[in-house]
Every structure is written in structure tokens, then in C-alpha cells.
């Protein structure tokens, strides 16, 4: 089963809101909505693994907090600078949620 991690993204939230609307008007049974979400998990994982080639690097001024629980890292960084080839982006704060990518569940 693919990670459900990517539901907490723009595309994941948009899907969940859409499903909620349809369920609200009784156009969609909840069980079917769950199946759609599970299928979304697979599709986004496959897309990220196969369709995306870009690489980033980042440097943070500070790692404010870190948490490792249930094989999930939650990191809070401040003063982060992202670089991709020639482009640079900065963020005052960045929260990273990382699931274990080593073993295939």
C-alpha cells in the first residue's frame, strides 16, 4: 500500500474537498471515496517516483525541532535556502514531514 503521506498536499486537499462535496450531496458513497483516495495515493507515489527528475538542495540556518516517531521524521527548519541549479528560494520557516522511503510497505 502506498504512503498516505501525499494527502496533506495541495492536490490531496483539493481531492478530499471535492470528495467531501460529493458525499455531502449524497452523490458518492463514503466507501467509494475511500477507494478514490487510496488510488490517489498510488498514483501520486508512482508519479513522483517515475515522472519527476528534479533535484533540490537546501541549507537551513537552524534545525529548530526534530521528532522521530513511528518511523516518521517531523522537522522544523528556520532560515532555509533552497537551490535548484541556478534558482534560489528562501523560506523563514519550513516544516518537513518525511516517511520512511527505504522499505516498500
Amino acid at each position: 500500500m502506498a504512503h498516505q503521506l501525499y494527502r496533506n498536499t495541495t492536490i490531496g486537499h483539493c481531492l478530499q474537498e471535492s470528495l467531501d462535496e460529493l458525499m455531502q450531496y449524497d452523490q458518492l458513497p463514503p466507501a467509494l471515496a475511500m477507494k478514490v483516495l487510496l488510488q490517489f495515493d498510488k498514483a501520486i507515489s508512482a508519479a513522483l517516483a517515475n515522472r519527476v527528475k528534479s533535484r533540490l538542495s537546501f541549507k537551513a540556518g537552524k534545525l529548530n525541532t526534530y521528532r522521530f516517531c513511528d518511523n516518521v521524521w517531523t522537522l522544523l527548519l528556520t532560515g532555509v535556502e533552497f537551490k535548484e541549479v541556478q534558482d534560489v528560494a528562501k523560506a523563514d520557516r519550513m516544516k518537513i514531514v518525511a516517511m520512511d522511503g527505504r522499505a516498500q510497505v
Binding site: 492536490i11 481531492l15 535548484e84
Partner: protein, 302 residues
């Protein structure tokens, strides 16, 4: 980062489109198995893409005519459904929102006699009363009273002014007695406003009654020990020493974009206070824009 040129942002649209298409295609068979119409599936796709477009995190480059039409049709259907759920018996109140201190409330009165027509009367209500729900409560009370029924039979302008007076009086009394319940005894046979039958909000509950003092003891007899003082009425106190509390500074205000990266980790290592991150397959939202990467590496000091 120049969003247009950054590769990890530029490809987001294509990747999202392909994910949407793949997901929709994959669940089509589930929809058929459950007996759900294909139209619902198309509606899901449309809603999903519309929301993605509106999120501005990505440019989907989709034509927006069809999604917007169906979305605006749905929005107007929702509004119509909300409007048809009339609260008061025999009348429907329709608030018209305007950025003024007074808000006109339109009340539609069904014909009082057979063959008559709907009457519309307008009362002006302060915005704060509308927002707090007080206006709705008072209107409901006034409109359901016997006197109001008689008022409906009058010409609309006279009916408006009479109802306006009753509403203003009701709002004035509400504002005077903010902390205590208005115990208006209903006058039998009169058309005065009845006490509301809906649950009273917490702020309106009366304080508990004070304990009565013991009866006066005749002189010469030993006085009983004085009873303990009655408990004070409950007041809303701030927590004691709340100024001593040290709360962690919230990492981000709710109004600001909370930059989040969701990804998988290959390896995260630490040497003393130097951390190194090896991440992969991630989606990052930075200042409202989405970026996608296959690999990301970083350093930080703790």
C-alpha cells in the same frame, strides 16, 4: 526563486494533471461496480481540477469554462436550498449582506387571503445583531406572535414601520440586559412577544439564586453561628497568573502560508549538532507555490 523558470515548479502542472487523469481512470471501474453514474466521476474530476486551479499553487492550463459553470451552478443551487429552509412560520427572512452598519432584512409574507399576493416588507437591522443571531431570534419571536399576524394585513409600509419598532425595542432590551435573562411574563390574551422557546445561550443564563439568610432570631437568644457567605455568582475569571505562562512561539501565524514539505527520507544523520538530510519524492509548498522533486539533500544545525 523565479517561479516560471524553476523546473521543479514548472513541471508540477503536468504531474498533477497526469495524477488526476490516472486516478480518475483507475477508479472508473469502482464507480461502475458501485452503480454510481459516470457523470459523478466527471463531476469529481471537474471539482478537483477547479480547486487546483483556484489554489494558485500550480498552473493547470485547463480551459476553465466548463468547470466554472458547473461549480457556479452548484453554488447557486446551494444558496437556493439554504434560502428555501425558512425559519419562521409563514414568512421567510432573507438577509441581504451589505457593508454598512445597518443591514436591510427582507421579509416575504405569503398572501393573507386567498387570491392575494405576496407582500414584502423591509426592516433595518444592525450588522452586529445579524451576525450574533439576535436579529434572527427577535424576528422569529415577533413574526410568530399574534400581533404580527394582524400587522401583516396592513399595508406594507405601515407593517414595516410597526415591525421595525418592535425589532428595535427588542434589540434595545437585549443590549441592556446582556448578562441576565429577560424574564418577560407573557400577558395572557395580549399579543405581546412570547418568551423564546429555543435553548438559551450560555451568556444569558441567570446567575444561581443567592442562598436566603436564616430567619431573624429574637433578641436574647444566642445567635447561631453565621452561615457561610453565599457563593458568588459565577463570573468569568481569567486563569490565575496567566501572565506567568510561557507559551512557545507558534511557528507560523495562521494567516501566513505554512511552508510544508511532504516527502520520504533515504537517510537522516546527525553528527553532534550537524544534521544531514537525504530526502526523495517530495512535494513542497513554499509561499503558496508547489514544487516537486525526486531528490533533495540538505544541512542544518540544531
Amino acid at each position: 526563486m523565479s517561479h516560471v523558470h524553476c523546473h521543479s515548479h514548472a513541471i508540477v502542472g503536468q504531474v498533477y494533471k497526469s495524477v488526476v487523469n490516472d486516478t480518475i481512470a483507475a477508479v472508473r471501474s469502482f464507480f461502475l461496480d458501485e452503480g454510481v453514474d459516470e457523470q459523478v466521476l466527471q463531476e469529481l474530476k471537474t471539482l478537483w481540477e477547479t480547486k487546483l486551479n483556484q489554489s494558485r499553487a500550480v498552473d493547470l492550463k485547463e480551459a476553465e469554462t466548463t468547470p466554472q459553470q458547473s461549480k457556479s451552478a452548484r453554488a447557486s443551487a446551494v444558496r437556493a436550498a439554504a434560502r428555501s429552509a425558512a425559519p419562521a412560520a409563514g414568512a421567510a427572512a432573507q438577509p441581504v449582506a451589505q457593508p454598512q452598519s445597518l443591514v436591510p432584512i427582507q421579509i416575504t409574507i405569503p398572501p393573507q387571503q386567498p387570491g392575494g399576493e405576496n407582500k414584502t416588507i423591509v426592516v433595518q437591522v444592525p450588522v452586529s445583531a445579524v451576525q450574533s443571531g439576535l436579529a434572527g431570534q427577535h424576528l422569529q419571536t415577533i413574526l410568530s406572535s399574534a400581533a404580527a399576524q394582524a400587522t401583516f394585513a396592513l399595508p406594507p409600509d405601515i407593517a414595516s414601520s410597526m415591525l421595525q419598532q418592535q425589532l428595535n425595542e427588542a434589540l434595545r432590551q437585549s443590549s441592556q440586559q446582556q448578562q441576565r435573562v429577560v424574564t418577560v411574563a407573557p400577558a395572557a390574551g395580549e399579543g405581546s412577544r412570547e418568551p423564546p422557546r429555543r435553548p438559551v445561550p450560555a451568556a444569558w443564563r441567570p446567575p444561581p439564586p443567592l442562598h436566603p439568610w436564616p430567619p431573624r432570631v429574637p433578641a436574647g437568644l444566642p445567635l447561631p453561628p453565621p452561615p457561610p457567605p453565599p457563593p458568588p455568582p459565577p463570573r468569568f475569571h481569567e486563569p490565575l497568573n496567566s501572565e506567568d505562562d510561557v507559551s512557545d512561539h507558534e511557528p507560523a501565524d495562521l494567516q501566513e502560508t505554512f511552508n510544508v514539505m511532504v516527502c520520504q527520507y533515504d537517510k537522516i544523520t546527525r553528527s553532534r549538532n550537524r544534521w544531514k538530510f537525504h530526502l526523495k519524492d517530495g512535494i513542497m509548498n513554499l509561499d503558496g507555490k508547489d514544487y516537486i522533486f525526486q531528490k533533495a539533500g540538505g544541512d542544518a544545525e540544531w
